[in-house]
Protein backbone atom coordinates (compact mmCIF):
# COMPACT_ATOMS: atom_id res chain seq x y z
CA UNK A 1 0.00 0.00 0.00
CA UNK A 2 1.25 3.51 -0.77
CA UNK A 3 0.72 6.23 1.83
CA UNK A 4 1.72 9.87 2.21
CA UNK A 5 2.66 11.98 5.23
CA UNK A 6 1.50 13.65 7.44
CA UNK A 7 -0.54 10.68 8.65
CA UNK A 8 -4.32 11.12 8.77
CA UNK A 9 -6.69 9.13 10.93
CA UNK A 10 -8.11 7.58 7.79
CA UNK A 11 -4.70 6.29 6.69
CA UNK A 12 -3.86 4.94 10.12
CA UNK A 13 -7.15 3.07 10.32
CA UNK A 14 -6.33 1.30 7.06
CA UNK A 15 -2.91 0.07 8.20
CA UNK A 16 -3.06 -3.48 9.54
CA UNK A 17 -0.09 -5.38 10.96
CA UNK A 18 1.85 -7.26 8.30
CA UNK A 19 0.91 -4.79 5.57
CA UNK A 20 3.76 -3.79 3.23
CA UNK A 21 3.81 -0.02 2.90
CA UNK A 22 5.66 2.53 0.74
CA UNK A 23 5.88 5.94 2.41
CA UNK A 24 6.13 9.20 0.46
CA UNK A 25 6.45 12.67 2.00
CA UNK A 26 8.31 14.31 4.87
CA UNK A 27 9.64 12.38 7.85
CA UNK A 28 11.99 13.38 10.70
CA UNK A 29 15.03 11.57 12.10
CA UNK A 30 15.76 11.19 15.81
CA UNK A 31 17.52 8.60 17.91
CA UNK A 32 18.63 8.23 21.54
CA UNK A 33 20.17 11.63 22.30
CA UNK A 34 17.59 13.64 20.29
CA UNK A 35 14.74 11.77 21.99
CA UNK A 36 16.12 12.67 25.37
CA UNK A 37 16.14 16.35 24.41
CA UNK A 38 12.65 16.29 22.87
CA UNK A 39 11.18 14.68 25.97
CA UNK A 40 12.94 17.18 28.25
CA UNK A 41 11.42 20.03 26.25
CA UNK A 42 7.93 18.55 26.57
CA UNK A 43 8.35 17.98 30.32
CA UNK A 44 9.47 21.61 30.75
CA UNK A 45 6.63 22.91 28.58
CA UNK A 46 9.00 24.34 25.98
CA UNK A 47 8.43 24.28 22.24
CA UNK A 48 9.92 21.52 20.06
CA UNK A 49 12.28 22.14 17.09
CA UNK A 50 9.53 20.80 14.80
CA UNK A 51 5.82 20.16 15.20
CA UNK A 52 5.43 16.43 15.85
CA UNK A 53 1.65 16.41 15.27
CA UNK A 54 0.71 13.70 12.76
CA UNK A 55 4.37 13.18 11.83
CA UNK A 56 6.63 10.15 11.52
CA UNK A 57 9.97 9.83 13.30
CA UNK A 58 12.61 7.58 11.75
CA UNK A 59 15.19 6.09 14.13
CA UNK A 60 18.39 6.48 12.12
CA UNK A 61 21.95 7.74 12.36
CA UNK A 62 23.22 7.82 8.76
CA UNK A 63 26.79 7.61 7.50
CA UNK A 64 28.25 10.90 6.16
CA UNK A 65 27.06 11.75 2.63
CA UNK A 66 29.65 11.70 -0.13
CA UNK A 67 29.95 15.02 -2.02
CA UNK A 68 27.36 14.09 -4.68
CA UNK A 69 24.92 12.31 -2.37
CA UNK A 70 21.76 13.49 -0.54
CA UNK A 71 22.53 11.24 2.42
CA UNK A 72 24.89 8.37 3.22
CA UNK A 73 23.70 4.88 4.10
CA UNK A 74 20.61 5.22 6.25
CA UNK A 75 19.05 2.07 7.70
CA UNK A 76 16.99 1.87 10.90
CA UNK A 77 18.48 1.51 14.36
CA UNK A 78 17.01 -0.76 17.06
CA UNK A 79 13.84 0.81 18.45
CA UNK A 80 13.79 -0.52 22.02
CA UNK A 81 16.28 2.14 23.15
CA UNK A 82 13.60 4.77 22.37
CA UNK A 83 10.83 2.91 24.24
CA UNK A 84 11.12 4.96 27.45
CA UNK A 85 10.54 8.20 25.51
CA UNK A 86 7.90 7.05 23.03
CA UNK A 87 4.62 7.15 25.03
CA UNK A 88 5.08 10.86 25.86
CA UNK A 89 5.72 11.73 22.19
CA UNK A 90 2.61 9.79 21.16
CA UNK A 91 0.58 11.60 23.82
CA UNK A 92 1.75 14.84 22.19
CA UNK A 93 0.59 13.94 18.72
CA UNK A 94 3.32 11.87 17.06
CA UNK A 95 1.60 9.33 14.81
CA UNK A 96 4.26 7.11 13.32
CA UNK A 97 7.68 5.61 13.98
CA UNK A 98 10.07 3.69 11.76
CA UNK A 99 12.70 1.45 13.32
CA UNK A 100 13.63 -2.17 13.75
CA UNK A 101 12.85 -4.78 16.38
CA UNK A 102 9.99 -5.16 18.82
CA UNK A 103 8.59 -2.58 21.27
CA UNK A 104 7.65 -2.95 24.93
CA UNK A 105 4.07 -3.63 26.00
CA UNK A 106 3.80 -0.04 27.24
CA UNK A 107 4.67 1.30 23.78
CA UNK A 108 2.27 -1.10 22.06
CA UNK A 109 -0.45 0.05 24.50
CA UNK A 110 0.33 3.71 23.80
CA UNK A 111 0.24 3.10 20.02
CA UNK A 112 -3.28 1.70 20.45
CA UNK A 113 -4.40 4.40 22.90
CA UNK A 114 -3.22 7.34 20.77
CA UNK A 115 -4.09 5.69 17.43
CA UNK A 116 -0.62 5.57 15.92
CA UNK A 117 1.49 3.05 13.99
CA UNK A 118 4.96 1.50 14.26
CA UNK A 119 6.66 0.52 11.01
CA UNK A 120 9.64 -1.80 10.64
CA UNK A 121 12.28 -1.19 8.00
CA UNK A 122 14.98 -3.72 7.15
CA UNK A 123 17.97 -3.31 9.42
CA UNK A 124 21.18 -3.23 7.45
CA UNK A 125 19.40 -2.35 4.20
CA UNK A 126 20.96 1.08 4.53
CA UNK A 127 22.21 1.59 0.97
CA UNK A 128 18.88 0.48 -0.48
CA UNK A 129 16.83 2.73 1.84
CA UNK A 130 19.08 5.71 1.05
CA UNK A 131 17.86 5.50 -2.55
CA UNK A 132 14.33 6.43 -1.40
CA UNK A 133 15.56 9.55 0.42
CA UNK A 134 15.38 12.53 -1.93
CA UNK A 135 16.13 15.46 0.37
CA UNK A 136 17.85 15.82 3.70
CA UNK A 137 17.91 19.02 5.76
CA UNK A 138 19.44 19.51 9.21
CA UNK A 139 16.85 21.12 11.49
CA UNK A 140 18.15 20.73 15.05
CA UNK A 141 21.04 19.70 17.30
CA UNK A 142 24.00 19.80 14.89
CA UNK A 143 26.23 19.08 17.89
CA UNK A 144 24.85 15.52 17.88
CA UNK A 145 26.42 14.72 14.48
CA UNK A 146 24.81 11.57 13.04
CA UNK A 147 22.29 11.79 15.89
CA UNK A 148 21.04 15.29 14.97
CA UNK A 149 17.45 15.82 13.79
CA UNK A 150 17.07 15.88 10.00
CA UNK A 151 13.98 16.53 7.93
CA UNK A 152 13.86 13.99 5.11
CA UNK A 153 11.78 13.96 1.97
CA UNK A 154 11.21 10.34 0.99
CA UNK A 155 9.67 8.57 -1.97
CA UNK A 156 8.40 5.00 -1.67
CA UNK A 157 10.33 4.29 1.50
CA UNK A 158 9.80 0.50 2.08
CA UNK A 159 8.43 -0.62 5.47
CA UNK A 160 6.05 -3.14 6.99
CA UNK A 161 3.46 -2.44 9.71
CA UNK A 162 4.60 -4.06 12.96
CA UNK A 163 2.18 -2.50 15.47
CA UNK A 164 -1.13 -1.16 14.22
CA UNK A 165 -3.63 1.12 15.97
CA UNK A 166 -5.71 -1.91 16.97
CA UNK A 167 -3.05 -3.23 19.34
CA UNK A 168 -1.80 -6.01 17.05
CA UNK A 169 1.86 -7.03 16.97
CA UNK A 170 3.30 -8.63 13.83
CA UNK A 171 6.36 -9.92 15.68
CA UNK A 172 4.45 -11.91 18.33
CA UNK A 173 1.90 -13.23 15.83
CA UNK A 174 4.34 -14.27 13.13
CA UNK A 175 6.92 -15.82 15.44
CA UNK A 176 4.15 -18.06 16.80
CA UNK A 177 3.13 -18.90 13.26
CA UNK A 178 6.61 -19.91 12.09
CA UNK A 179 7.86 -21.56 15.31
CA UNK A 180 8.68 -25.22 14.82
CA UNK A 181 9.73 -24.49 11.23
CA UNK A 182 6.31 -23.23 10.14
CA UNK A 183 4.70 -26.62 10.88
CA UNK A 184 2.16 -25.03 13.22
CA UNK A 185 0.73 -23.57 10.03
CA UNK A 186 -0.05 -26.74 8.22
Amino acid sequence: MKITTPLTEETINKLNYGEKVLITGTIYTARDAAHKRLVNLIVNNESLPFDIKNQIIYYVGPTPAKPNEVIGSAGPTTSYRMDVYTPLLLENGLKGMIGKGERTDQVIEAIKKYKAVYFGAVGGAAALIAKSIKKCELIAYPDLGAEAIYKLVVEDFPVVVINDCYGNDLITENIKKYANGGKNNE
Binding site: K20, A74, E102, V122, G124, A126, A127, L128, L170, N174
Partner: protein, 279 residues
Amino acid sequence: MNIINRHILIETVERLCIEANYQIEQDVLDALNESQNKELSPIGQDVLSQIIQNDIIAINDSKPMCQDTGIVVVFLEIGNLISLNFDIYDAVNEGVRNAYQNGYLRKSVVKHPFNRENTKDNTPAIIHIKLTMGDNLKITVAPKGAGSENMSLVKMLTPAEGYEGVKKLVLNTIFNAKGKPCPPIILGLGIGGNLEKAALLAKEALMRPIKDKSEDEIARKLEDELLDEINRLGIGPMGYGGTQTALAVKVNVFPCHIASLPVAINIQCHASRHKTIIL
Protein backbone atom coordinates in the same frame (compact mmCIF):
# COMPACT_ATOMS: atom_id res chain seq x y z
CA MET B 1 63.26 -11.41 8.04
CA ASN B 2 60.23 -9.56 6.72
CA ILE B 3 60.52 -5.85 7.51
CA ILE B 4 57.12 -4.18 7.63
CA ASN B 5 56.81 -0.61 6.42
CA ARG B 6 54.65 1.55 8.67
CA HIS B 7 52.95 3.36 5.76
CA ILE B 8 52.04 0.12 4.06
CA LEU B 9 50.48 -1.17 7.25
CA ILE B 10 48.45 2.03 7.70
CA GLU B 11 47.26 1.96 4.09
CA THR B 12 46.38 -1.71 4.35
CA VAL B 13 44.26 -1.22 7.46
CA GLU B 14 42.54 1.76 5.81
CA ARG B 15 41.73 -0.23 2.69
CA LEU B 16 40.49 -3.26 4.63
CA CYS B 17 38.15 -1.11 6.78
CA ILE B 18 36.60 0.49 3.71
CA GLU B 19 36.34 -2.73 1.70
CA ALA B 20 34.82 -4.59 4.65
CA ASN B 21 32.12 -1.94 4.95
CA TYR B 22 31.36 -1.67 1.22
CA GLN B 23 31.73 -5.24 0.01
CA ILE B 24 29.93 -8.17 1.58
CA GLU B 25 31.88 -11.44 1.33
CA GLN B 26 30.68 -13.76 -1.45
CA ASP B 27 30.08 -16.65 0.98
CA VAL B 28 27.67 -14.51 3.01
CA LEU B 29 25.85 -13.39 -0.14
CA ASP B 30 25.55 -17.02 -1.28
CA ALA B 31 24.17 -18.00 2.13
CA LEU B 32 21.63 -15.14 1.96
CA ASN B 33 20.49 -16.30 -1.47
CA GLU B 34 20.15 -19.84 -0.22
CA SER B 35 18.11 -18.73 2.77
CA GLN B 36 15.82 -16.69 0.55
CA ASN B 37 15.00 -19.86 -1.37
CA LYS B 38 14.28 -21.73 1.85
CA GLU B 39 12.25 -19.05 3.65
CA LEU B 40 8.54 -19.89 4.02
CA SER B 41 7.26 -16.51 5.25
CA PRO B 42 6.42 -14.01 2.47
CA ILE B 43 7.52 -11.06 4.65
CA GLY B 44 10.71 -12.96 5.44
CA GLN B 45 11.38 -13.52 1.72
CA ASP B 46 10.80 -9.85 1.09
CA VAL B 47 13.24 -8.86 3.85
CA LEU B 48 15.91 -11.20 2.44
CA SER B 49 15.43 -9.83 -1.04
CA GLN B 50 15.89 -6.27 0.30
CA ILE B 51 19.07 -7.34 2.12
CA ILE B 52 20.49 -8.96 -1.00
CA GLN B 53 19.59 -5.96 -3.19
CA ASN B 54 21.12 -3.69 -0.58
CA ASP B 55 24.41 -5.57 -0.49
CA ILE B 56 24.67 -5.40 -4.28
CA ILE B 57 23.90 -1.64 -4.30
CA ALA B 58 26.60 -1.14 -1.65
CA ILE B 59 29.18 -2.90 -3.84
CA ASN B 60 28.13 -1.11 -7.05
CA ASP B 61 27.82 2.37 -5.52
CA SER B 62 30.87 1.97 -3.25
CA LYS B 63 29.04 2.83 -0.05
CA PRO B 64 28.54 1.23 3.35
CA MET B 65 26.08 -1.70 3.31
CA CYS B 66 24.92 -0.61 6.79
CA GLN B 67 24.93 2.80 8.44
CA ASP B 68 26.37 1.27 11.60
CA THR B 69 29.92 0.96 10.34
CA GLY B 70 30.87 -0.34 13.74
CA ILE B 71 33.76 -0.30 16.14
CA VAL B 72 36.73 -1.92 14.43
CA VAL B 73 38.13 -5.22 15.67
CA VAL B 74 41.59 -6.06 14.32
CA PHE B 75 43.31 -9.42 14.62
CA LEU B 76 47.04 -9.42 13.97
CA GLU B 77 49.01 -12.64 13.65
CA ILE B 78 52.67 -11.70 13.74
CA GLY B 79 55.32 -14.21 12.67
CA ASN B 80 58.59 -14.49 14.64
CA LEU B 81 60.52 -13.39 11.53
CA ILE B 82 58.61 -10.13 11.23
CA SER B 83 60.41 -6.93 12.09
CA LEU B 84 58.38 -3.95 13.26
CA ASN B 85 60.26 -0.82 14.26
CA PHE B 86 57.18 1.25 15.08
CA ASP B 87 54.20 1.21 17.44
CA ILE B 88 51.80 -1.21 15.81
CA TYR B 89 48.79 -0.12 17.90
CA ASP B 90 49.36 3.43 16.82
CA ALA B 91 49.70 2.49 13.15
CA VAL B 92 46.52 0.39 13.16
CA ASN B 93 44.59 3.27 14.72
CA GLU B 94 45.95 5.65 12.11
CA GLY B 95 44.65 3.31 9.41
CA VAL B 96 41.23 3.22 11.07
CA ARG B 97 41.17 7.02 11.42
CA ASN B 98 41.98 7.45 7.70
CA ALA B 99 39.39 4.91 6.64
CA TYR B 100 36.54 6.45 8.61
CA GLN B 101 37.40 9.88 7.26
CA ASN B 102 38.19 9.04 3.63
CA GLY B 103 35.62 6.25 3.28
CA TYR B 104 32.66 8.32 4.57
CA LEU B 105 32.08 5.85 7.39
CA ARG B 106 30.12 6.71 10.51
CA LYS B 107 32.12 7.50 13.62
CA SER B 108 30.52 5.43 16.34
CA VAL B 109 33.07 5.34 19.18
CA VAL B 110 32.80 7.34 22.42
CA LYS B 111 35.74 8.28 24.65
CA HIS B 112 34.29 7.13 27.92
CA PRO B 113 31.49 4.66 28.70
CA PHE B 114 29.80 7.23 30.98
CA ASN B 115 30.69 10.62 29.47
CA ARG B 116 29.97 9.30 25.97
CA GLU B 117 31.77 12.00 24.03
CA ASN B 118 32.47 10.90 20.45
CA THR B 119 36.17 10.41 19.55
CA LYS B 120 35.18 11.68 16.06
CA ASP B 121 37.56 9.36 14.20
CA ASN B 122 36.24 5.93 15.24
CA THR B 123 39.41 5.10 17.14
CA PRO B 124 40.54 3.29 19.15
CA ALA B 125 40.20 -0.06 17.42
CA ILE B 126 40.09 -3.23 19.51
CA ILE B 127 43.32 -4.99 18.66
CA HIS B 128 44.13 -8.65 19.35
CA ILE B 129 47.70 -9.81 18.72
CA LYS B 130 48.85 -13.39 18.38
CA LEU B 131 52.44 -14.48 17.82
CA THR B 132 53.04 -17.16 15.22
CA MET B 133 56.02 -18.80 13.49
CA GLY B 134 57.27 -17.64 10.08
CA ASP B 135 57.56 -14.36 8.19
CA ASN B 136 53.88 -13.56 7.66
CA LEU B 137 51.87 -10.72 9.10
CA LYS B 138 48.21 -11.63 8.84
CA ILE B 139 45.71 -8.82 9.33
CA THR B 140 41.98 -9.31 9.75
CA VAL B 141 39.78 -6.24 10.03
CA ALA B 142 36.23 -6.73 11.29
CA PRO B 143 34.00 -3.69 11.87
CA LYS B 144 31.21 -4.76 14.25
CA GLY B 145 27.87 -2.98 14.69
CA ALA B 146 26.21 -2.59 18.08
CA GLY B 147 22.81 -4.10 17.24
CA SER B 148 24.13 -7.63 17.28
CA GLU B 149 27.00 -7.07 19.72
CA ASN B 150 24.51 -5.75 22.33
CA MET B 151 22.63 -9.07 22.24
CA SER B 152 25.82 -11.07 22.96
CA LEU B 153 26.92 -12.38 26.36
CA VAL B 154 29.33 -14.47 28.41
CA LYS B 155 27.99 -16.82 31.06
CA MET B 156 29.80 -19.18 33.39
CA LEU B 157 27.79 -22.41 33.48
CA THR B 158 28.49 -25.31 35.82
CA PRO B 159 30.04 -28.46 34.36
CA ALA B 160 26.85 -30.30 35.38
CA GLU B 161 24.80 -28.13 33.02
CA GLY B 162 26.91 -29.51 30.18
CA TYR B 163 25.98 -29.76 26.51
CA GLU B 164 22.25 -29.40 27.09
CA GLY B 165 22.82 -26.40 29.36
CA VAL B 166 24.78 -24.65 26.62
CA LYS B 167 22.01 -25.31 24.10
CA LYS B 168 19.37 -23.98 26.44
CA LEU B 169 21.36 -20.81 27.10
CA VAL B 170 21.92 -20.21 23.39
CA LEU B 171 18.31 -20.80 22.39
CA ASN B 172 17.01 -18.52 25.17
CA THR B 173 19.46 -15.79 24.24
CA ILE B 174 18.53 -15.89 20.55
CA PHE B 175 14.82 -16.05 21.31
CA ASN B 176 14.98 -13.05 23.62
CA ALA B 177 17.01 -11.07 21.08
CA LYS B 178 14.37 -11.67 18.37
CA GLY B 179 14.80 -9.03 15.62
CA LYS B 180 17.22 -6.76 17.46
CA PRO B 181 20.47 -8.25 16.08
CA CYS B 182 19.17 -8.05 12.48
CA PRO B 183 18.64 -11.73 11.62
CA PRO B 184 19.49 -13.81 9.69
CA ILE B 185 22.42 -13.98 12.08
CA ILE B 186 25.67 -15.88 12.22
CA LEU B 187 26.32 -17.23 15.68
CA GLY B 188 29.82 -17.47 17.16
CA LEU B 189 30.15 -19.60 20.29
CA GLY B 190 33.25 -19.81 22.44
CA ILE B 191 33.11 -22.67 24.91
CA GLY B 192 35.82 -23.35 27.48
CA GLY B 193 38.91 -21.42 28.55
CA ASN B 194 37.89 -18.80 31.12
CA LEU B 195 35.84 -15.61 31.02
CA GLU B 196 37.93 -13.60 28.53
CA LYS B 197 39.15 -16.61 26.56
CA ALA B 198 35.59 -17.70 25.86
CA ALA B 199 34.70 -14.24 24.53
CA LEU B 200 37.72 -14.21 22.23
CA LEU B 201 36.97 -17.74 20.99
CA ALA B 202 33.45 -16.63 20.09
CA LYS B 203 34.71 -13.61 18.16
CA GLU B 204 37.29 -15.75 16.36
CA ALA B 205 34.56 -18.25 15.49
CA LEU B 206 32.80 -15.45 13.56
CA MET B 207 35.90 -15.02 11.36
CA ARG B 208 35.55 -18.56 9.99
CA PRO B 209 34.18 -19.05 6.44
CA ILE B 210 30.43 -19.53 6.55
CA LYS B 211 30.42 -23.08 5.21
CA ASP B 212 33.27 -24.64 7.19
CA LYS B 213 32.61 -27.06 10.04
CA SER B 214 34.45 -27.45 13.33
CA GLU B 215 37.10 -30.16 13.37
CA ASP B 216 36.00 -31.11 16.86
CA GLU B 217 33.33 -33.80 16.71
CA ILE B 218 31.18 -32.54 19.59
CA ALA B 219 31.48 -28.92 18.47
CA ARG B 220 30.39 -29.95 14.97
CA LYS B 221 27.34 -31.76 16.35
CA LEU B 222 26.48 -28.68 18.39
CA GLU B 223 26.81 -26.46 15.30
CA ASP B 224 24.40 -28.64 13.30
CA GLU B 225 21.85 -29.12 16.06
CA LEU B 226 21.79 -25.48 17.09
CA LEU B 227 21.40 -24.22 13.52
CA ASP B 228 18.38 -26.45 13.10
CA GLU B 229 16.85 -25.54 16.46
CA ILE B 230 17.44 -21.80 16.07
CA ASN B 231 15.67 -21.90 12.73
CA ARG B 232 12.68 -23.52 14.44
CA LEU B 233 12.25 -20.61 16.84
CA GLY B 234 10.13 -18.78 14.26
CA ILE B 235 11.99 -15.45 14.54
CA GLY B 236 12.87 -15.19 10.85
CA PRO B 237 14.54 -12.38 8.88
CA MET B 238 14.52 -9.14 10.95
CA GLY B 239 12.37 -10.97 13.52
CA TYR B 240 9.25 -10.47 11.41
CA GLY B 241 8.55 -14.22 11.63
CA GLY B 242 9.98 -16.97 9.48
CA THR B 243 12.18 -20.01 9.22
CA GLN B 244 15.52 -18.36 8.38
CA THR B 245 16.86 -16.94 11.63
CA ALA B 246 20.49 -18.07 11.38
CA LEU B 247 22.77 -18.62 8.38
CA ALA B 248 25.40 -20.53 10.36
CA VAL B 249 26.56 -21.52 13.83
CA LYS B 250 30.30 -21.59 14.55
CA VAL B 251 31.59 -23.24 17.71
CA ASN B 252 35.19 -22.88 18.94
CA VAL B 253 36.22 -24.91 22.00
CA PHE B 254 39.22 -24.77 24.37
CA PRO B 255 40.33 -26.68 27.52
CA CYS B 256 39.02 -25.28 30.80
CA HIS B 257 39.15 -25.62 34.59
CA ILE B 258 37.64 -28.73 36.24
CA ALA B 259 35.03 -26.54 37.92
CA SER B 260 34.07 -24.28 34.97
CA LEU B 261 32.05 -24.28 31.79
CA PRO B 262 32.48 -20.78 30.31
CA VAL B 263 30.19 -19.99 27.36
CA ALA B 264 30.41 -16.88 25.19
CA ILE B 265 27.69 -16.12 22.66
CA ASN B 266 28.69 -13.57 20.04
CA ILE B 267 25.92 -12.69 17.62
CA GLN B 268 26.78 -11.39 14.17
CA CYS B 269 24.12 -9.71 12.05
CA HIS B 270 23.68 -10.43 8.34
CA ALA B 271 26.04 -7.50 7.62
CA SER B 272 28.95 -9.80 8.43
CA ARG B 273 32.05 -7.80 7.63
CA HIS B 274 35.61 -9.00 7.77
CA LYS B 275 38.56 -8.82 5.42
CA THR B 276 41.91 -10.55 5.74
CA ILE B 277 45.24 -9.98 4.08
CA ILE B 278 48.75 -11.36 4.52
CA LEU B 279 51.69 -8.95 4.25
